[in-house]
């Protein structure tokens, strides 16, 4: 059954609720090296699943954290970043975020602020880090301090996808933080979204398709507190019961719809 806000039919995002599953997303401008970093970390394991309709690439990875085996899904954008904004389903249920810039291009560093803002609208609390990539191009940059990460209180890594410097260290630490966050979540976005969906269903009771959508929870009281903590972007969404169509109804899904048209 398709998931609520993460309404990508091929992907059941509900699985990310299971203990041994985490979702880690990559953010950053075009050509900063997001995909090369993934490839360098995964090496032979590297078997991405292209969901070109959604301008999305998925990399699956098995990691060991402590004594546990964890299945990690890395979400990488495949062109959606060019709209300077990602579809909400990209952020949905993410447990950690890797933000990348290119040390050779100032604009990609400046844009971190926008990416970070959007991330925090959807995922106010998940662990996040800032990655300065391509240091092989000019090692002198490692003698500079980049204040953005410090200001936001985020871990910062100097890396190179080309020669491998600190790539594995960064990924391992982020996986660990994603797992820790999962055991100890400090925000309630997903719950809020589920409540909202139920609330909407209740309103639409007359032509309800609740069963068909697999939403069997009893309708919630439409509490006003829920509305208050809805973040701005989410408020503008259409939370219809028909989750499959959601991706194409919401106002800011430009990237996905455009891309999918291209591919038809």
């Amino acid at each position: 059954m398709a998931d609520d806000v993460g309404s990508i039919p091929e992907l059941d995002q509900k699985k990310y609720d299971a203990d041994e599953q985490v979702k880690i997303i990559c953010l950053g401008d075009s050509a900063v090296g997001k995909s090369k970093l993934m490839e360098r970390f995964l090496l032979d394991e590297f078997r991405p699943q292209q969901l070109s309709t959604y301008a999305l690439t998925l990399y699956k990875h098995k990691a060991t954290v402590g004594s546990k085996t964890v299945a990690v899904d890395f979400w990488d954008t495949a062109g959606q970043e060019r709209f300077q904004s990602m579809h909400p389903s990209y952020y949905h249920k993410a447990h950690a975020c890797i933000m990348v810039f290119d040390v050779q291009r100032k604009i990609t560093y400046k844009n971190l602020a926008n990416w970070y803002k959007e991330l925090r609208e959807y995922r106010p609390e998940i662990p996040c880090c800032v990655v300065a990539n391509k240091i092989d191009a000019d090692l002198k940059v490692t003698q500079r301090s980049f204040s953005f990460a410090k200001k936001q209180g985020l871990p910062f890594y100097f890396v190179s996808a080309a020669d491998g410097t600190n790539v594995v260290k960064m990924f391992r630490e982020m996986i660990k933080r994603a797992v820790d966050y999962k055991l100890n979540p400090s925000d309630f976005m997903d719950e809020v979204m589920e409540e909202l969906e139920n609330f909407d269903l209740e309103k639409k009771e007359e032509n309800s398709e609740a069963d068909e959508n697999g939403l069997s929870k009893p309708p919630q009281q439409p509490g006003s507190t829920l509305r208050l903590i809805r973040p701005a972007r989410v408020r503008d969404q259409t939370f219809s019961g028909n989750s499959n169509s959601l991706a194409f109804e919401s106002s800011d899904c430009v990237a996905m719809t455009r891309k999918s048209k291209d591919n038809r």
């Binding site: 075009s30 062109g79 940059v141 200001k151 410097t165 594995v168």
Partner: protein, 158 residues
Amino acid sequence: MSCEAKRCGVRFSPPSIVLMYVHTDTKKMRKRIIPVRNFSKYSDCSVAAERLKNHPRHRDYLRQVPQSQLEKLHIILRDHMQGSSLEDILASFRLDPEEDLNKLDDEELARKKGQMDRLFERNRKRTDDPDFVYDLEVEFDKSNQEKCSWDEESDDEF
């Protein structure tokens, strides 16, 4: 057959890809001219590059040439077939650090990435390099780091 690829380029007429390589046994520099067939100004350069890379007669020679570079050479050939001047073609690949690459379409972006690949490939450590370390870690001394100029004018921006 064992050889080391040194440089490659294009020849417009007849459309071909030119490879300079050194024969490992004889240490002699040689030139190989590979005609590009079934290729027109409407062709898909990425498909054509892949086809060439896997071509049974040429693949041994092209093993060390990244596919992205072959794609770039095909783009040059194709742009030329479409009537662009060599100067314009080369400019379309040039990297401008100020340019916002988010604004480019797929093909324009592929050109820039193709250009970036040159440095990437040069600095790349591969798994079959004898000194390859999977989890290479380097600590950079934070104590005497200077402020990056990118932070200067915009202290309150973030």
